[in-house]
């Protein structure tokens, strides 16, 4: 350390100057870049603030309303009358649990049918199984279209076509899920070991037989794990589909928020959050088991 610093000090003047020059210009370039990014951010913030009608005054006057809103939706629970208070808070639990079941079923059916569609299409979208570029690319584009449009937009259109109720919600989630899972499934299929496929083909298996006996056993755990993850996402998605009239608990939640039924807002939110957490935990355990079984041959 000491020796090194002596070397630095004893550098010839010209050499030291050129080094310092290089250091200064590097530091200046970095500062310029930081300034540029900072300026870009400021311009973006100002432009977005203008387009987004940001109003600090409205926010400041609104902020106490937000905190009072939060304290308003928390019900008053007193220890001596806890039972009565709780039953008053969750007065509609029968109806809400029914709607929650609807929400879960919408998510389940949407995931199931979406996964079945993705299952069928993913093999056609995989470069290692399908030679025809044309077929593969058209399937990929189709899946892309399915997943880029948000499911709630599909739900809006389907509510128009199929009428109010959970059915359009199921179809909307199924289509979106098909797009999202189709891409992931195809990636799983493209990462398989091709030797079993070659073996099956060499024994005279047709394309379908090769997929059934050589590809499927390799990809099934991965498919199941992704489908479970998607189910988790779809439960969240299905909980708000009711906002546009596509069934489930969302409709009740929106009505209670819009009409300022404070107790109901917190009760329904609590039910939804608890459900989401339970589903998260369940699917996580299942997925860990699946991944474990995948690693053990």
């Amino acid at each position: 350390m000491l020796a090194a610093s002596r070397i630095v000090i004893s550098l010839p003047e010209r050499r030291r100057e050129s080094l310092e020059q290089a250091y200064r210009s590097a530091a200046a370039a970095k500062r310029r870049r930081t300034l540029l990014i900072g300026a870009g951010l400021v311009v973006g913030i100002v432009a977005s603030g203008y387009a987004g009608e940001v109003n600090i005054e409205r926010f400041v006057t609104g902020l106490p309303r937000f905190t009072s809103y939060i304290s308003d939706i928390i019900p008053i629970l007193r220890w001596p009358t806890l039972g009565a208070d709780l039953s008053e808070w969750f007065w509609g639990w029968r109806k809400w649990l029914g709607l929650l079941l609807d929400t879960l079923l919408i998510a389940y059916l949407g995931t199931l049918f979406g996964a079945l569609g993705a299952f069928a299409l993913s093999f056609l979208a995989s470069a290692n199984l399908v030679r025809s570029r044309w077929l593969r690319i058209s399937v990929r584009r189709y899946l892309e279209l399915c997943r880029t449009v948000p499911e709630i937009v599909y739900a809006l259109i389907f509510v128009f076509a199929f009428g109010l109720g959970p059915l359009p919600g199921v179809i909307a989630i199924a289509i979106h899920t098909m797009g999202a899972l189709g891409k992931l499934f195809a990636e799983v299929v493209e990462n398989i070991d091709m030797k079993p496929v070659e073996g099956a083909t060499a024994c005279g298996a047709s394309w379908l037989e090769a997929v059934r006996y050589a590809v499927l056993p390799q990809v099934l755990p991965g498919f199941a794990s992704y489908a479970l993850l998607r189910f988790e996402i779809n439960v969240r998605g299905a909980s708000v589909l009711g906002f546009v009239g596509a069934g489930g608990i969302g409709k009740e939640l929106m009505a209670s928020i819009r009409q300022f039924y404070y107790g109901d807002v917190s009760a329904i939110l609590l039910i939804v959050i608890a459900t989401v957490i339970v589903i998260d935990m369940l699917t996580e355990t299942l997925r860990h088991r699946l991944i474990g079984s995948m690693e053990k041959p």
């Binding site: 913030i45 603030g49 009608e53 059915l167």
Partner: protein
Amino acid sequence: MTSAIRNAALSRRAEIEARYPRMIRPSPRRHMLGAGLVLLMAGVAIFGLDRVGFSFAKLLDGLDRLGLVIGLMIPPSPGPMLMTYLGGLAETIAIAFLGTLIAAVLGFPISLLAAKNVIANRIVHFLARRSLDTLRGVETLIWALIFINVVGLGPFAGILAIALSDTGSFGKLFSEAIEASDRRPVEGVRSAGGSALHSIWFGILPQVFPVLASQVLYYFESNTRSATIIGIVGAGGIGLYLANEIQQAEWPRVAFLILMILVTVAAIDFISSKLRFAIIGKSRLAR
């Protein structure tokens, strides 16, 4: 050739069967388990279809109307509303941009509290994690509805909704990145006499900044999608027009709006993936 291999394999069938009994004849228990699972899933599906009021007549009827709607969507055209829609699109991008930025600014300090290697206190850690989970557990659209009650209809409610729900996501992601960071720079700063703040600023931040920046960009991308639909409940952006035109059955305009959204999302995806690649690539080179 093929049949020769096949015959060779088949002639040794008895031997192969003896060697891999589980491959040729899986145990009946496994069979039953698989069949039971399929039956259970099918049973729940049938129960569910019944409960959501599914019938083939209804499906065909709806598909019929859907075909009609799609026919009416062609050709997509904005009518006289093009400028309004472009304004809505600008609003959408503004909502996503400001929402993501505010979320990142709010999420960072909370993520420090939620990171085990910064705050060793288990209670603080637990509280920070659970409050982040709650923020994340409520859907953005629900936050939007609540903020409409607080600041009124309009894009500002959308910005706040995205900011709050993503504060939860960022807090979690950032804290994971911080926990995965190298401890040695922090120890170096502390042993040279730096305060706790110095150790965060000089020890942790330079390590995690590229990861954080790339996560923020990724969320900006996905928030552009969320911001397109947030207008459906009245929180600003292009979703408001989309919902209105669908309700009034102006199908060419609906198709035009959907195309606008798709193009914008694709453009933002492209830009942000380029930027992300630039940031991550640079950090890899630096190491």
